[in-house]
């Protein structure tokens, strides 16, 4: 299968400080890819390069075989959605208004939403289970609900590639698990997810593929079971940790436990 997105020898530096070293990666359609790595390893920077928000100093990013910068922003926005981590919230837009913003790439100068836009927004909200929140101010809902609102916006955007920066950041355990299960459900419908996480467990639960990042370079790239191991995690995070198998009804799940807790 040919790659949906591809980076070729991407180098990126902020004011002379190198953040990404020679990154060459392929992303296939329908994959759930987790990027794992310590703080400051360049994960978020890579996401921004993939989104075209940052221009690499050297190297190329291709989307469906075409250079990313040859696309217009509105064209890209119809294919790729960004679900950011931290969110500035200055104005109390309603949840529906935030989701409707996903329809912006489809409108020209006057940006009036059509009845069809509203239907698509409703469908998106229903899909992630926040239909009942539509008239609530975005500033007054919980962190998990906000994250779901942004995912609904990405759905309304009609994008098939979701780029998410630590989607579970700041959510309680229940909301984390609900959100991850939503992501797995959407991936089964054919959407592509490229996301960063600080939790190897979450990568094991959701990802088809895990990429380990350290100091701006790829340490390992492959099937979660092959990549997320006792040895690789110890090398990546420099802590004693064990990856164990928990047998279930149909197969087994792998979990990470720090050595001191065993």
């Amino acid at each position: 299968m040919s790659a949906l997105m591809q980076t070729l020898g991407v180098n990126f530096a902020y004011r002379g400080r190198k953040v990404l070293h020679d990154i060459s990666l392929d992303f296939r359609a329908g994959e759930v890819v987790s990027l794992l790595g310590p703080n400051g390893s360049g994960k978020t920077t890579l996401l921004k390069v993939l989104l075209g928000l940052l221009m690499p100093q050297s190297g190329f990013v291709h989307f469906e075989g075409r250079l990313l910068q040859s696309y217009r922003r509105t064209e890209l926005a119809k294919r790729m959605a960004y679900v950011p981590q931290v969110h500035r919230e200055a104005f109390a837009y309603t949840v529906e208004e935030v989701v409707l913003m996903g329809r912006m790439p489809y409108h020209g100068f006057f940006s009036t939403y059509s009845a069809q836009d509203r239907v698509l927004a409703q469908t998106a909200m229903a899909k992630v289970g926040i239909g009942h929140l539509q008239d609530r101010p975005y500033t007054e809902i919980s962190g998990g609900e906000r994250q779901l609102t942004l995912i609904a916006r990405a759905l309304a955007q009609g994008a098939d590639v979701f780029i998410m920066d630590e989607p579970v950041n700041g959510l309680d355990y229940g909301n984390q698990m609900r959100l991850l299960s939503d992501i797995v459900g959407l991936a089964r419908e054919g959407l592509t997810f490229i996301m960063t996480t600080h939790f190897p467990d979450h990568a094991l639960m959701t990802a088809d593929r895990v990429i380990l990042f350290r100091e701006g370079a790829v340490l390992a790239d492959g099937h979660p079971a092959a990549v997320v191991t006792t040895g690789s995690l110890q090398e990546l995070y420099r802590i004693e940790v064990k990856v164990m198998n928990i047998p279930g009804q149909t197969g087994s799940a792998r979990v990470c436990v720090p050595a001191w807790a065993l």
């Binding site: 921004k48 989104l51 075209g52 928000l53 922003r73 509105t74 064209e75 890209l76 926005a77 119809k78 790729m80 959605a81 960004y82 950011p84 969110h87 500035r88 919230e89 200055a90 104005f91 109390a92 837009y93 309603t94 208004e97 935030v98 913003m101 996903g102 912006m104 790439p105 409108h107 100068f109 006057f110 940006s111 009036t112 500033t139 955007q157």
Partner: protein, 336 residues
């Protein structure tokens, strides 16, 4: 309520205009105004020759220009304030954030010192309004940063610079003629607005206001942050520069017509946000209508309350400041 608010605000504006036409030293009953309009627009013959001449003079030559000035200035300041609040993701921002008012003030003072012609004063006001914003944007660019915070800092620096230049101008001005004229101008006053100026300036102002109103959807997305706006298909730099240009143009032109009118650009967006919510597609037109109505009402108070006129800018500040204290609680909730 939200759906009805724009028609209601528009009705309020029309009512305010009719009342303003009636009020003045020479009172014109509403019947006469309607009869005059009937004669003027539809050729009806409800008025005798003498009152036609009188009403043409009072309504068209004296009152209407000043009413238009108030409407244009109020709408321009409220709309550019609303647009800047979305652009800078901060509901405490006012149209002067990038230094346009400081620059225009200096430009007006310089014009008054150098030439005895209104045209020179007006051109200088507009030019230095743009120059101040140019300096602010230039400073932000100097650091190769397109971030909002650098723009704000650039605006602070530029504003301080042109305020200092204004002090120099005041110090150097002839204290018997020029200095009082400068000081009086900077208080903000619509009495000076003459008909040809207003008619000329109304064209770019209306165009600027209408173009800003068309940016509602994009401003909504811009207020979610630069990266998200990009990811939602917005050309962030282009939209930002367009909005800054339009807001600078209309704000500088308000100074050309009536000097510095403070606080309208800050409090009107707040009231409108309470009325129609934060969606800029609704908020911008609401701000235009309410801003226009507000300044018209305030200007009526200024010209009618006493036997002498009070500068409009002073009254907008006197009303604006206590009102702002009242809504401060609301502001804090919106801005985290």
């Amino acid at each position: 309520m939200k759906r009805l608010s724009l028609p209601l605000l528009a009705a309020l504006l029309v009512a305010a205009v009719l009342v303003s036409l009636c009020l003045g030293k020479y009172r014109v009953p509403l019947d006469d105004i309607l009869a005059f309009a009937g004669w003027k627009f539809f050729g009806l013959s409800g008025l005798d020759e003498e009152s036609r001449g009188l009403l043409t003079n009072v309504l068209l030559d004296i009152r209407l220009p000043r009413i238009l000035a108030a409407l244009l200035i109020g709408a321009a300041l409220a709309v550019s304030g609303t647009a800047f609040q979305a652009l800078f993701i901060n509901p405490l921002v006012s149209p002067g954030i990038l230094g346009v008012l400081a620059g225009a003030s200096f430009g007006a003072a310089l014009g008054m010192m150098l030439a005895n012609s209104w045209l020179v004063v007006q051109c200088s006001t507009l030019a230095f309004g743009f120059a101040a914003v140019g300096v602010a944007v230039g400073i932000a660019r100097l650091f190769r940063s397109h971030s909002i915070i650098m723009l704000v800092l650039g605006g602070i620096i530029s504003g301080a610079f042109f305020t200092a230049l204004l002090s120099i101008a005041k110090y150097a001005a002839d204290p018997t003629n020029q200095l009082p004229a400068i000081v009086y101008w900077l208080m903000g006053n619509l009495a000076a607005a003459d008909r040809p100026t207003i008619l000329t300036v109304s064209v770019p102002m209306l165009l600027g206001i209408v173009l800003l109103l068309c940016h509602g959807g994009r401003l909504n997305v811009m207020s979610m942050g630069e990266e998200e706006a990009s990811a939602l298909g917005i050309n962030v730099k282009q939209v930002r520069m367009t909005v800054i240009f339009l807001a600078t143009m209309v704000s500088a032109l308000t100074v050309v017509i009536g000097g510095i009118i403070g606080w309208v650009g800050l409090i009107i967006p707040h009231i409108c946000r309470m009325l129609v919510g934060p969606d800029n597609r609704l908020l911008l037109p609401a701000a235009a209508l309410l801003g226009a109505t507000y300044l018209l009402v305030v200007d009526n108070v200024c010209r009618l309350l006493f036997t002498f006129e009070i500068p409009t800018g002073i009254v907008t500040s006197l009303i604006g400041i206590p009102f702002f204290v009242l809504v401060l609680n609301n502001v804090r909730r919106g801005w985290r």
